[in-house]
Symmetry: C2
Subunit: 419 residues, 2 copies
Amino acid sequence: MSNFAVLGYGVVGSGVVELFYKNRESIEHKAGDKMDIKYILDIREFPDSPYKDKFTKSIDDILNDGDIKAVAECMGGVEPAFTFVKACLEKGISVSTSNKELVAEKGAELLEIAKEKNCNFFFEASVGGAIPIIRPLHKCLAANDITGVAGILNGTTNFILTKMIGDGMKFDDALKLAQDLGYAEKNPAADIEGHDACRKICIISSLVYGRHVYPKNVYTKGITDIKLEDVQIAAKWGGAIKLIARVARLENGKILPFVMPMIVPYDNLISHVDDVFNAVMVCGDGIDKTMFYGRGAGKLPTASAVLGDVIDSVKHDRTVFSQMWEPSENNDFVEDWKKFEAHMYYRVSCSDYYGVGEKIQKAVSDMTNGDDRIDIIETGDKSELCFVTPSMSVYESESFSEKIEGFGGKVVSTIPVLM
Amino acid sequence: MSNFAVLGYGVVGSGVVELFYKNRESIEHKAGDKMDIKYILDIREFPDSPYKDKFTKSIDDILNDGDIKAVAECMGGVEPAFTFVKACLEKGISVSTSNKELVAEKGAELLEIAKEKNCNFFFEASVGGAIPIIRPLHKCLAANDITGVAGILNGTTNFILTKMIGDGMKFDDALKLAQDLGYAEKNPAADIEGHDACRKICIISSLVYGRHVYPKNVYTKGITDIKLEDVQIAAKWGGAIKLIARVARLENGKILPFVMPMIVPYDNLISHVDDVFNAVMVCGDGIDKTMFYGRGAGKLPTASAVLGDVIDSVKHDRTVFSQMWEPSENNDFVEDWKKFEAHMYYRVSCSDYYGVGEKIQKAVSDMTNGDDRIDIIETGDKSELCFVTPSMSVYESESFSEKIEGFGGKVVSTIPVLM
């Protein structure tokens, strides 16, 4: 018999309990052992719960029981989750977590303790909810040199952008709808300003490139500035604006992680990932590219990922070394994000459409030794010039914007294109 | 040091050798052990190969070495692969294979031997090439009750259909292009008649539902009858014709696997999976739905999957029980495919467009107690009536087709819609 405990009986924790008892028989078959939930930790009272006898307010009950093989941590936030998880791992109890803040801030330290104590710290549920991505990255794709990962890692912002794209809603209206439907919090900052996606790309970057990447070192821009006009002009050009979290390894050996809105061309499958769904595209030298898609959040989808990890904890009591990364305080292997190069979408307000257009065209021709031109998007509105540039770095784009202002244009929007 | 052997030095086998030596350092890191390829088995001579000292023509060299921890089987076909793989497993040597024929025909038997000998028979590469699907299904999604799996499991046919959809090519021309590009064999039957996809859905069905499903018991229809006209009319309605391999569990406990062309509505991500790419959508009670996408074939993509399994073999020397299924000779748990229910696309040739349309509309109204109607697709051509019916079984569709003939219409095409 393998007993486990659930920390936190909120949305995800209660989902873990529900899904476990619903599919207990097949879960036990897959784990190769009888299983049960012995404790549920929560500071609140649940007198009417069918599981009321399992509730405890003290982590010590779990730590001192001696018969707990695994713990599912679904509390969220760094503390007290960190203290509790650390204590479990130090007792040699494997922990599976859905807590992205915890992994993004303390992953390296907790993995190190798990290694010392020969148990596991699993975190499949911390990125992409139901989507299997952590295990495929370090197992199925283990033979690959991973050159980059890019995707949609936040469902709330994807829902908002989908409503802007598909229904022509303005950002504020789409946000309000997301809040009404329960997809966005009352204070939606963590989602719409990109911090949630940032934590997730930090976890992926750390796992893939082997050193802990901290959220504070990753350029993060949300979707609050995205205008309906740009969404519609991007569609004319042939792409969808999505909040993209991305990391790539550069030729100099550094990595370049970021979160920002990008235009995704329609021939990239990510552009068709809509509503609250998430997707992660992985590029490697063996696979070329492979994508994982599914619900990035929600009660049962996240619980599914946590329980998958718990089952693995029960089956394998040895540390999974391939899921380790090194601590790295200064993150000096993270490249300056402004060196990122991409085609850039521009919307330029101007009184002299053809005159400014000609000057911009000439400037681009000069920058590329006559090799390249801008790709003008015909909108029918001659008060604004919209176009996509050849590939340039963010630094180059900044000085290009200055040139445009010099030509008498006013740069309204710039959005990089995901290629 | 963990030595392994590669059986077969064709496209996939040579890819395994290439990818292993390219990424050896990181592969060894992930395996937690030094690794090398000690033997490559092939009946042919490779005197100019840098690995010429590793070649052998005799499986006995590998079986009797005593120092081989894992084998990558990349020969293809049932024999002699089956005899060789069986002999390896009986010696307790774990085998990872890319051979879908072998797994579809002999999976249950080989898994049973692996269990007896406490080693592993892995087959991630046998379905979906580079796409991680086997391990996610039995590990990451282990907490789910899987209600169905559907996808595009053959790259050659998807390339042909993409060319018909995107470039307006006729089937024969698209097939010729696929052959010229090396995507289709000179004798393309296994691909275009659906047998390749059938083997893969058999493997998925066996793994998900726990009993061996044989290809001969799975209804399989290829794409040779697909007309460019239907592709174009489907696009007008809002969907793409794809060769879909699907299995679902029915309320009576039986399963319903099949391979056939279906119209996939554009709001289903599968409709946007183009060229030689594959994708597998999995539905479960926890995850709702999740999709895996990538290259379904090719040298390095398939090698990536084989090597991922080899690395796991080296790391875990215990049998993975969750990847087992039971033998089942008669397949009486496979439901009659004609009980499958779907909306049906019809193209009906008729001299009296409005008269026949009215009769069909009335027949559908009678079948659904006045609740439902056909969804007529306006093509501008009144010599053919094109529409999508309410949901009906294949049996019902057959008698509905007879009725249409009675009304004076000639049924040119029927294609079910994937919902």
